[in-house]
Symmetry: C2
Amino acid sequence: MKQPKIQITDPFWSEYRRIVKDVMIPYQWSVINDDVKIDIERENANAFKASEKSHAVQNLKIAAGLAQGDFYGFWFQDSDVYKWLEAVAYALRYAPDQKLQQTADDLLVLISQAQEADGYLDTFFQIRAPQLKFQHVSFSHELYCMGHYIEAGVAYYQTTGNQLALTIATKMADCIDAHFGPEANKMHGYPGHPELELALAKLADETHETRYSDLAAYMINQRGTKPNFFAEQANNNEPLPADFPFAEPEDNGQQYFQNHVPVRELQAAEGHAVRMTYLLTGMAHVARQTHDESLQAACQHLWKNIVDKQMYVTGGVGSTVAGEAFTFDYDLPNDTMYCETCASCAMVFFAKQMLENNPDGEYADVMERELYNGTISGMSLDGQHFFYVNPLAVNPEASALDPNKSHVKVSRPAWFGCACCPPNLARLIASLDQYLYTVKDETIYSNQFVGHTATFGADLTITQSGNYPWSGNISYTINTQNKPEFTFAIRIPDWSQANYTVKINGQLQNDLLDLDHGYLKLTGPWPATTTIELALDMAVRTTQANPLVTADLGKVAVERGPLVYCLEQADNGAHLPTLSLGTESTFQIQDNVDLGLPLKLTTVSTTGAKLTSTNSDQLYQSAQNPRPTTAQSLTFIPYFAWANRQPGEMQVWLRQH
Amino acid sequence: MKQPKIQITDPFWSEYRRIVKDVMIPYQWSVINDDVKIDIERENANAFKASEKSHAVQNLKIAAGLAQGDFYGFWFQDSDVYKWLEAVAYALRYAPDQKLQQTADDLLVLISQAQEADGYLDTFFQIRAPQLKFQHVSFSHELYCMGHYIEAGVAYYQTTGNQLALTIATKMADCIDAHFGPEANKMHGYPGHPELELALAKLADETHETRYSDLAAYMINQRGTKPNFFAEQANNNEPLPADFPFAEPEDNGQQYFQNHVPVRELQAAEGHAVRMTYLLTGMAHVARQTHDESLQAACQHLWKNIVDKQMYVTGGVGSTVAGEAFTFDYDLPNDTMYCETCASCAMVFFAKQMLENNPDGEYADVMERELYNGTISGMSLDGQHFFYVNPLAVNPEASALDPNKSHVKVSRPAWFGCACCPPNLARLIASLDQYLYTVKDETIYSNQFVGHTATFGADLTITQSGNYPWSGNISYTINTQNKPEFTFAIRIPDWSQANYTVKINGQLQNDLLDLDHGYLKLTGPWPATTTIELALDMAVRTTQANPLVTADLGKVAVERGPLVYCLEQADNGAHLPTLSLGTESTFQIQDNVDLGLPLKLTTVSTTGAKLTSTNSDQLYQSAQNPRPTTAQSLTFIPYFAWANRQPGEMQVWLRQH
């Protein structure tokens, strides 16, 4: 069965994709060209000083010899340009735009001019320290930046057929292949920030050149072995200048890089969360390409560890700002976490690869949780403000006055010095069509409820429509002429598996309800037209966490469909932690609520309780039971939509009474 | 009425005082002389690298020209020596020791040799950078160290009559007075770390030299004024060398020093907690000496802010490791706080000054809370291990794996690179007699239930006995011959004011129960012997926090008498946060429990509940109500005694069900 061509028609996602195409792509282009005056914020109190501007395109011009000047900005800034280009590649598929395509074509010429004859391209090292190329890859991000280009180049070539886009990518990959590998005359290294591995895997898929997947496999397998490659480089190579914006890691920093043990020996997701999840994405892809079962087993083990022990209910991962990292099982604090937008994007990438290896609804469930919660919470609905950190509980006073919460922003800033997240979101949303299906042998797995038309070759078209995530009623129409043999598998979300209905051609089905790994499987023979009407359980759910999650003890999260809901001060007043929910609460649904945003929302409300203070002057007093409360109506909005109004408190988990 | 001479006979405190005299003082002497091999730990992951040794006495020898070598250790290490000397001064009062006194006398000679002719003494600057004396007082700690000497010198002089001890102190104070003050030819500055102010106040009391209290008052009043003195020094003076262990603060760091506004304009306790509480102690003392009502009003305002909004139930203050600082009202996280032992010691100092200004049981209540909880939790009962940070909830896994909890130690280390806390505890415990009474005009206020004999001149002796904090039965015997006129005021703790009894000469009193500012006041005429038998309410109490304390919502702390209790893993198994207490719990008391410690303890037990996991593989599931629990017996030990067994979890606040 062929991979489908997909046109997304979904009302919810079309709006996001419009924002990406019409707002984010032009906005980000003006940012990376320094054509717009922006406030660039620090990520947190300890981060590098905020930059004045991006300078990313200018760096390429300087490296290409087309402009004079010094490198400016974060040393891995090239990747901002490449992620923008990748987003453009995807956006042009659903919104052709001659002018934008010309801009991207011109950018590719610039990139090709900046690229050296041997394929190397990293403007920081080219401008600042050409003698140190590939000499300190722990923090240099050279391989990371080139990986991002390779992804972009492949995508742009796939969209437009622009051969230069692919040539730059293969030249880069060949350059890296010439320097890294098992041979004695090569470096036995790998990227400090994994990304190249997944990019090489994509390049291998496109070019059918196994050298690229082999190189990715080599880097994955070499990681964490002894002697430690980063330490060897630190000890043996010309040292990094003292005025460089980065330094070699201290010995104890290898866990941060997932470099303390070989990847198959990792017992849990550890270290920097985006590094970990990018690495896992590459591992899963390469495991499939190289038929490496032990590598796939490692991916599965770490998937389970994340999803069962280290993932927030919003899909966020990374429990601490220190190293932007995973910490330990069940450590999920709601107000000091990191939950970087990029890490949630990477969980979508990882889930996709796991689905390709082994279609199981569990991966698509997590993908859905990320798509509707932890990823898009990273952007405002104006397309011009972004979160790096996605908290589950916010108190503006704490963000202002507790230095350990300085990373927890209460409003989305316009841009960041380290601007990885905004273009990552743009490319994810623009490529959403890639996440709807997994096609494996003769089975078509429908993973997401995003309205679209999918064309599987000349004789099979599948159309999906609905008003998800607000409604659970989803319709499929399958059109085919020549009665092909295939199985159509529809994921039934874990939260609806106890309660859903299916009608086929108007007939309620009772004998189809056994699910296979979370999928409802329909087999042929297929008439010319088949309609499937799915009704999911859209009742409001209260969810509790494993009791080992100390932060959530005695609390519930409110969910409906794929959405996690939250309380905001704008609707519920101050002191949100003093609110609680009865165990027998009934919920009311309000559809099409206008909060002044481009999307109308469905909100959830109920009556809860608010603790009252009997003697507000006293800090401690004898316990009163029951504690005095007053009834209060509670209004929940979708988590992704928080912080689109005035700054205030926000909270996902709330106490039960 | 004269100040009393006091001999402590209390079984509880006598053991602590024995540990101070027999263990801590010899141990700390061997540490500061590098005669013992110790593991010196970092305070947290971001602290300066651990030192190999103290080197504090050796620094004095080098400064005195008696040894060769470089300064070593923290740049304010001199203060470790002075706090040791101060502890010795107090210990010699209750445990005369000719050999120890000779050691201290010899040390004083060394100190006098290290002191310069003009009175200056700071071994770091003398050895490393004499040209920078007093040029960067924001972080130099010169005034802090000399302040600590002045306290020690006064105390040692008072105990032994050693004139050299006092001469060194007055020379220091004169040196500082020659350099700082309102005159045009002096620096208009004040210490980066307040301490000198309270020391100068003590010196003024001893010498009746108002120049010293005036200098303290000047520094207090000058603090926080514009232009900012620290910024002026940073801008105008020869810069600190780059290899110095400290640097000038960034502009936004003034709040850390309580230097952003004048002290009378501080709305809340802010910045570094020990700086804040030392400053307040000096402010309250100087307010009394200079009859400064507005300064006393500022002390009272900030006292209320701390006690009503920023103090843990253990008496701990300082809600964050970042700057070891106060944060904001009601921000009292239990697992990331600082609660430095020194800050609780300083709260005792502050409370004493507030009592002297205005005897009110509220100050003595807090003093008691600090003495029995937040201070002595800072030491193990072997006298050789110490906490800097006193958490209210500990998970060893989090301390090991969450960098933001690296400061939360699960066992008391042997010493610290920055070793302020151990000698601070030693001097507090050794001087406990100074905290029992406030004598104001013709009223004797008995503030604490520490067994002792107090002699108020030739004709009045008051003896107190009991088995506090384990028993609430306290006996006083007042012996006098010449019928002096005085009022005897006994503090009734806030936690017992609703339920206590008093017998005078065996007669139960019913007409005495009206308290005056927390004191039960007895007036004469006084027969030759009066016995007073007080019975306090020792029922176990459950305490709740103000609902604005998010960290404690839905939780209670268990208290009995002056003691806060806690759960330890050793008694209650792992996963303490999953335990909860019923609202109608009854408690059992076990006296004289032997946990292998020098003190036998009273423990509290009851039956509670433990959450069970229905499906331990799942991180999130539909809320079950009621959540499945199993009954579990809970054993609470006094908070001060935690971490004296094997490392494990500990928790003060626990959920109610």
